[in-house]
Symmetry: C2
Subunit: 317 residues, 2 copies
């Protein structure tokens, strides 16, 4: 796996390496959503990606970067979200094992998503400490290699490939991604620096978990508070992602959960794609700051579409 900030060549190699295992997802436009925003909006539909999220890119690139001996011993991670499924699918595609540490409280649907690809689940207490300890034990026992959800340069290079696909079709003035741990944002910022320096990268974050926003202000990693419907974005930045972001991302727009739900509903209604709150935060940020984006070309990454329908239904009422 990469031990340095991904270079231009690292990202191009990642794109080439993962190509046969992922979808080159559609870049959709919609008159109503563009008109509401006052600019020309391009939606990169990573919700239509394998396992329903961009996480497949980074997990696959990291797994494919391992030696055959490492691959044979399997890959491991702790995650209760989309990364867990991505790791399980990556291992399945490479005919090896995956070991996923999850809090015992994780929803059954998330566990089923991992088991579907033959992933082995290790349950633990729902604290970061317990997750890290359990993962350490699992790795000691199995010899598997950890693939972190975001604080890993090979994962970051993989996430950057979504932006490569956007840039093959459009050169936007702005590119908006969500920010949680910062893997997608880091990859996006690097890809734009190398391949479209005229594109400004902007992050979108829920106001109830605005740690990345505060980190940019204070100049050091601030801990996340974890209060938002955008459950994929409640993570604190990592020591590999923060420096990349700090240097390249000039602005993070924060939005309320109400704004996220309203944007999500407009996306479902008009674009007709199932979008999770952590993805809709991007379009919410665009609507919240219309004057900035007026008459511009804006690409937004719809990062995932894994939602609990019964919960969403209540939010849409």
């Amino acid at each position: 796996m990469l031990t340095r900030v991904p270079t231009k060549e690292d990202i191009l190699q990642a794109a080439n390496r993962i190509q046969e295992y992922i979808h080159n997802t559609p870049l959709l436009v919609n008159e109503s959503l563009s008109s509401m925003a006052g600019g020309e909006v391009f939606f990169k539909c990573e919700n239509l990606q394998q396992i329903g999220a961009f996480k497949m890119r980074g997990a696959m690139n990291a797994a494919l970067s391992l030696s055959s001996e490492q691959i044979r011993k399997g890959i491991a991670t702790h995650s209760s979200g989309n990364h867990a499924q991505a790791i399980a699918r990556a291992a399945h595609l490479l005919n090896t094992k995956s070991f996923v540490v999850m809090p015992a409280t994780a929803p059954e649907i998330k566990k089923a998503g991992v088991r579907k690809f033959g992933g082995e689940i290790f349950e633990c207490e729902p604290t970061l400490q317990a997750r890290e300890n359990t993962l350490r034990e699992v790795i000691k026992k199995t010899g598997a290699t950890e693939i972190h959800p975001f604080n890993n340069y090979s994962v970051i290079a993989g996430q950057a490939t979504a932006t490569l696909e956007i840039l093959e079709k459009v050169r936007p003035h702005f590119l908006i991604t969500p920010v949680g741990g910062g893997g997608l944002l880091s990859g996006t910022a690097l890809a734009c620096q190398y391949f479209s320096p005229e594109t400004s990268v902007i992050a979108a974050e829920p106001v109830g978990s605005d740690d990345a926003f505060r980190s940019l202000q204070s100049g050091k990693i601030e801990p996340a508070q974890s209060q938002s419907i955008a459950d994929g974005l409640l993570t604190t930045l990592g020591d590999k992602t923060f420096p990349i972001i700090k240097e390249r991302v000039k602005e993070i727009i924060t939005v309320s959960d109400e704004e996220i739900i309203s944007a999500m509903k407009q996306i479902w209604l008009n674009l007709k794609v199932v979008t999770e709150p952590s993805a809709a935060v991007t379009y919410a940020a665009l609507l919240a700051r219309k004057e900035k984006f007026s008459q511009k070309k804006i690409a937004v990454i719809l990062s995932g579409g894994n939602v609990d329908f019964s919960k969403i239904l209540r939010d849409f009422q």
Copy 2:
């Protein structure tokens, strides 16, 4: 407008004519949905089309086939569904007027969809007789040209272009479309006959409104009964669509509303696209007759994605 069954050239011309006004929609694959079906399934996402349905193709082709004098006087139709919005948008794009006859009982959201594009609505009693009478009066008063939702050769040629786009990417053993009035099915059957005769065209229909199924059996147009969640498929075949279908479509698979809802939920969950019941009927038919499609390549047209969320999400409970 065309006065004969569309030829190969008519369909190619339609594709060329409407190209700049429609999306070339994504053809998506999904491992889970293919595995559930036991074959390789390709979803033609006309739910991601302009106005959220394939109807935009036929309406646009018909409108563009009119003389400039006809266009100036406007276009008219009676419809409470996706065709109404398609006509309104087509007129808007051509800088002319649209006149849409709708039952007074039509949902407000459908009326709003027409008004959004400047369409003028004429309300009437919710009977076919009242709709036809009102349309006749409107046309007499305005001089507008009627564009029928399906019983119109230029509309049929337009709907055929969805199949052209599929065939550019895959040559399936089977192609499944829904059948209501038969416009999409007729266009699909003609396109396959001309451009991929090895592809068998199959229609999918709700068992509660299986008039097309019965019409193929009896050899004459049987009236629809109108009992299904698939509200776009409650229409009786037309005297232009039935002969095309009768000659070219060997099989219509009927499915229950429960099967439609279950298939629709799987599409939302796995493919992450918002699909209306009238579109999910295709995948339901595939699941209902797995042995037939085993190990084959099957394209299904997801015809639209215009749904009432509060209703659909209740069905998902």
